[in-house]
Symmetry: C2
Subunit: 313 residues, 2 copies
């Protein structure tokens, strides 16, 4: 590219699935003159250097953010407040500070007060991920066709918001702007409650007296295995999500419990008609998701199948 990159220097604080994916995609798209990250442990620094997807790996967050015009915290929600406080004195004037947290009310509350005058605070949440974590798990294509939600506080500089929007669009994402409160309600149903329920049922299956774990694992293709993917997500990240979005999660959980009671009652009363009606209705949502490219149309999420081979006679 002959034109200037969008940012001179992007500092990624945290290099797990999301940080690592941003680095790879931003580099592939030439969105940053330089990409730096930091890691406290020498072992992690060595690993990230080996991956050769960032320009420098620094020992402290303070060093990493110096001279950066975009700083993105890619760490669990609960760590964002303290890290914002830590880096505040080292931030450049006019820099944009953002994050990737799955809860936005708590981010506004915990990070907001630490952001110095003259620095633009534009929280973000890319709605994308896999069940893998750690520096090796990232990949450049993670954000393609996924939404990234920005929740700038009222009065945020419009040019800063636009620049961050361009950055995420460059990574392949579609960008939408919301209030933190609405974001937290939407994500409570599209992400947080599904994770809570998946974590619950996988735990239930693991502790049954009448059915062994080995049976659960063997016969998981009946549906259960679909839940185990998101129940294998990063525990620290998810602990923080539930603590930070408590109110909205409890509210959605209340509605879910009412609906589960209704279906349970239909089963108990042999009300086949109510069950059939409900099961027919839920097909439409899947169709909508596939139609707008948010999931694969292939059966079974496109899971691979082996070929049939005839046994030798």
């Amino acid at each position: 590219m002959s034109t200037e990159p969008l940012f001179k220097r992007v500092a990624l604080i945290g290099f797990g699935l999301i940080g690592g994916s941003i680095a790879r995609a931003a580099r592939a798209q030439g969105l940053a003159g330089e990409i730096v990250t930091s890691a406290r442990s020498a072992k992690t620094r060595a690993r990230v250097e080996e991956l050769r997807v960032v320009d420098r790996v620094l020992e402290t967050n303070a060093e990493a953010v110096k001279g950066a015009d975009l700083v993105i915290l890619c760490i669990p929600v609960g760590a964002c407040g303290p890290v914002a406080e830590e880096i505040a004195p080292f931030l450049e004037q006019d820099a944009i500070v953002s994050d990737v947290g799955s809860v936005k009310g708590a981010i506004a509350r915990d990070m907001g007060p630490h952001i110095p005058q003259g620095v633009h605070f534009v929280p973000a949440h890319p709605v994308a991920g896999t069940e893998h974590s750690g520096p090796d798990s990232g990949f450049a294509e993670l954000f393609i066709n996924r939404w990234c939600i920005l929740t700038p506080p009222e009065g945020t500089d419009a040019a800063a918001v636009e620049k961050l929007r361009e950055f995420w669009a460059g990574l392949g994402a579609k960008v939408e702007i919301m209030t933190p409160d609405h974001h937290d309600l939407v994500l409570a149903i599209t992400s947080h409650l599904p994770h809570l329920i998946a974590y619950t049922i996988v735990g239930t299956a693991d502790e049954l007296a009448q059915v062994t774990s080995s049976e659960v694992i063997k016969f998981s293709a009946g549906g259960f295995r679909d839940f185990t993917r998101i129940a294998a997500s990063d525990p620290t990240m998810w602990r923080d999500v539930f603590l930070a979005n408590k109110e909205a999660v409890l509210e959605m959980l209340g509605t879910f419990n009412e609906d589960l009671s209704k279906l349970t009652r239909a089963i108990r009363r042999n009300d086949g008609e109510a069950l059939f009606e409900h099961f027919t209705r839920t097909r439409a949502i899947r169709r909508g998701i596939v139609e707008i490219g948010q999931d694969s149309a292939a059966p079974d999420f496109g899971r691979p199948h082996a070929n049939l081979t005839k046994k030798p006679e």
Copy 2:
């Protein structure tokens, strides 16, 4: 193959995902001299004939089972009793009658009494499927590496059981034998409860006042979309499963509700330690499932990702 096929004539009653997959796989593996099926509607008969995966499509079940040495009912559990009664007078001596139902206690109770003396009754349940249904949805590889559970009543002819085991092994499945009651408990947790919960949460998301359906669809990559796949399964089949396996489903649901209350309480009390401990434990089950080849090790079930393309400057 120079040797005789395992069965002279296989009659498949019902030609949806499972019936259609059995036909394709049995033909590919040369397991049957002839494969026949039946359909009441002329339109379905025409469609199945077009697919060219069976030898003949007959108008009635009675005609289909005549001369068959293996008859498999590939229809919803609730229809199996009446169809067993209907075909009973036309079954050949020494034929094997089986099914593919997801509940086995009800099958023993509803089909068992109609099976004539001299005919072998060996119920079966291949633990495999996709969210698609209908005659076009089947494929020969569906059963590869999946388990098929046989639940022969006490005293069933061992040679008949062995022959059906060979048939399923030929389709690529691993075969296991259980009592109907134990089968129904195992499947209640590995398949029925996951479906009930998926149906519930997809319904919940569809009816919220604060979050629109379009938002649910757009931001579904946060976890929700994983649930929509099994909530798009065949409504008739699943209505019958819940009515037929009521006791075991209600029992598992009781345990699930207790566990969900425990996690809810941990969130309400800000007990991060309890959440972290639970979320760490559930990772092991996923590992077990991937290790024995019951799910893909690729992130996101191996869902495809588009390539990054640089925008033209």
